[in-house]
């Protein structure tokens, strides 16, 4: 049932049955590393190119998610996923190996939530039984495409962020007992506040996150309070700006116990990571790893995931374009 | 007539940035004190040089000059100025003034080795070629 507001509400309680998280060697330094199912020793998983390693990464995580759900690959109706590489080739090649019906999705680092929203719509429409959703990113492959070759000695500014090598996938099915389910969602609009520095993603994505959070919380302001609202990969800089925006507009007066950001916390306070983590893998691994675990154990009952993504390309930056961003929100409950 | 070797080794003041009386040394293969004075007079007047070494050999004269570090901006100017002055004083000599450190080292080797005339002529020829080399 979709009312005239922007928020989508799901009445059949599509449940996240299982999730699987994989991470690269560097992510051992993450504060969440104990929640990751697989931690690889080599960024390329002994493949000969970064992109092949990235594809292998996705394939392994998907297989694990399906197995943890107690299903077979043949039971999955569709794989909804995407990554940051040109034309999402790593996800495409992983889908080739998985031989699951596949629909590629691109919202940059917000794919982790946009794939969950689409999956929920599909389950709600009762046309599908099990949907595999999620997203991933690989540091080397993303850095060399968007910024500089890996070994190039460029200096990261203090607001720079470190792309995470991680993948987070989950299986969505019909309502199930004591399983977190998707209550509602808000699809983000593309917001462009004319930020131009590709090294400063945080401040480019903050307004998009703010717009989606404001819209979603406004429509739920007289509901029960949220245990947690967590944004994807704004990083320390973006998160500080988001809190400032919320203070200015009074959004922080809405009933929310705690605001957090996956990118800001991912690497803790190690200075060499500057403003923290970014990348589709960051939001996916933190949302569907530790936070999903807390919801499952009922420590958190009502959580809002807000994944943020910057919709630029190496070309658009060189052509002098500004950086448009988007943020999708999905509300997860557990009874 | 055989040229008797006569070597005058002055004290080379290495870090003589402040003192302005440059030390001059001569490796003189001819017994002609007058030529040494005129040359010494020219070199003494040039106060921004810290060290110089000159080699005479039948109508060939190679002067290696070391400019003080702080006035190295004018190094090429000093070199050209000295070249003109020395050529004016010794019209019948084939003169080369160079402020290059390598030339100074080569001449110092030459003085140490103290070769016979034929080898001396060849090394002087090599040094002059080296000084003109561009790349």
């Amino acid at each position: 049932m979709v009312n005239q507001s922007r928020m989508l509400e799901f009445s059949t309680k599509p449940a996240i049955v299982s999730t699987a998280i994989a991470a690269g060697p560097l992510e051992k330094q993450s504060v969440f590393h104990s929640y990751f199912d697989i931690i690889y020793e080599d960024e390329r998983i002994n493949q000969d190119t970064n992109e092949k390693g990235h594809a292998q990464f996705i394939e392994d995580t998907c297989t694990l998610a399906v197995r943890k759900a107690g299903l077979q690959k043949s039971d999955i109706d569709v794989l909804l996923s995407g990554d940051l590489i040109n034309q999402m080739t790593p996800t495409n090649f992983a889908a080739r190996e998985l031989a699951i019906p596949f629909m590629g999705m691109f919202s940059a680092c917000a794919t982790s939530v946009s794939s969950l929203i689409t999956a929920s719509v599909m389950i709600e429409s009762n046309l599908m039984e099990h949907v595999l959703f999620g997203s991933s990113s690989q540091h080397n492959a993303v850095e060399r495409q968007f910024r500089y070759p890996i070994e190039y000695g460029a200096q990261k500014p203090p607001f720079g962020q470190w792309t995470v090598t991680a993948a987070g996938f989950g299986v969505l099915s019909h309502a199930q007992e004591d399983r977190p389910y998707v209550k509602s969602a808000t699809i983000g609009k593309v917001i462009d506040c004319e930020c131009t520095d590709p090294l400063d993603m945080g401040s480019a994505m903050a307004p998009a996150a703010f717009d989606t959070i404001q819209s979603h919380l406004q429509e739920n302001k007289d509901e029960a309070s949220y245990d947690l609202v967590i944004t994807g990969d704004l990083g320390k800089t973006g998160f500080a700006i988001l809190k400032e925006l919320m203070k200015k507009s009074g959004v922080d007066s809405y009933p929310v116990k705690l605001f957090r950001d996956a990118g800001a916390e991912f690497y803790g306070n190690k200075s060499e990571f500057k403003s923290g983590a970014s990348g589709a893998g960051c939001s996916a691994s933190v949302f569907y790893g530790p936070i999903y675990g807390d919801i499952l154990s009922k420590k958190l009952k009502k959580v809002l995931f807000v994944a943020t993504g910057a919709l630029l390309s190496p070309l658009s930056f060189q052509q002098g374009e500004t950086i448009p961003c988007i943020a999708h929100a999905v509300e997860i409950w557990i009874d | 007539m055989t040229k008797r070797v006569w070597v005058v080794i002055g004290i080379t003041l290495l870090l003589s940035a402040c003192s302005n009386n440059p030390s001059t040394d001569f490796f003189h293969a001819q017994n002609d004190a007058k030529e040494i004075e005129t040359l010494e007079k020219i070199l003494e007047k040039e106060e921004s040089t810290s060290e110089s070494l000159s080699v005479f050999f039948d109508h060939q004269l190679v002067v290696a000059v070391q400019v003080q570090p702080l006035s190295k901006f004018q190094k090429s100017k000093i070199e050209k100025r000295l070249q003109k002055k020395v050529e004016k004083e010794f019209p019948n000599h084939e003169v080369l003034v160079s402020s290059d450190l390598k030339i100074m080292w080569e001449l110092k080797d030459l003085v140490k080795k103290d070769p016979n005339d034929k080898a001396l002529k060849k090394t002087l020829k090599d040094i002059q070629a080296l000084a003109k080399e561009e790349t």
Binding site: G153, P158, E272 | -
Partner: protein
């Protein structure tokens, strides 16, 4: 949320680049690279037949060789992160730009990858070096031919 009201918030909150600290780091590391270069030119002068003027060519080649070793062993990006321009401005920075692009694009094959991507970062330095040299030399030659200035 429009850009004009948003940009001041960013300027206020986003952490500023530590300019002073970066300048000291750049000065220190850049100085070390040049001092190493000076030592190499002395070595070339002492052991080989180079004068002070011609010693710069082999020195530059040696510095690029050092850049290759540092880049290959993954040290250059650490130096670059610490020093910034101190590691980019010396010729080792130019070497690092070329060599890191070459190493990076080996996965796309030797001709299409290494061959066509090698000068992805450093190409602009050569292009605008040659172009500016051409313009400057042309102007100076014209002026000299008109007798305005001497060589």
């Amino acid at each position: 949320m429009d850009a004009k009201s948003y940009q001041p918030i960013v300027d206020q909150i986003a952490p500023k680049r530590p300019v002073l600290r970066n300048c000291f780091a750049a000065f220190f590391v850049g100085g070390i690279f040049c001092a190493i270069g000076q030592i190499f030119s002395y070595l070339y002068m002492y052991f080989f037949n180079f004068t002070e003027r011609t010693a710069s060519n082999p020195t530059v080649a040696t510095m690029v060789f050092i850049a290759m070793l540092l880049t290959g062993f993954g040290l250059y990006k650490k130096i670059g992160q610490f020093a910034g321009a101190g590691s980019a401005v010396p010729v080792t920075g130019f070497g690092n730009a070329v060599i890191s692009a070459a190493i990076e694009h080996k996965s796309e094959g030797w001709v299409l990858g290494v061959g066509s991507n090698m000068f992805k970062l450093a190409g602009s330095v050569i292009v605008y070096g040659v172009f500016s040299a051409f313009v400057v030399a042309l102007i100076k030659t014209i002026l000299v031919k008109m007798g305005v200035i001497a060589w």
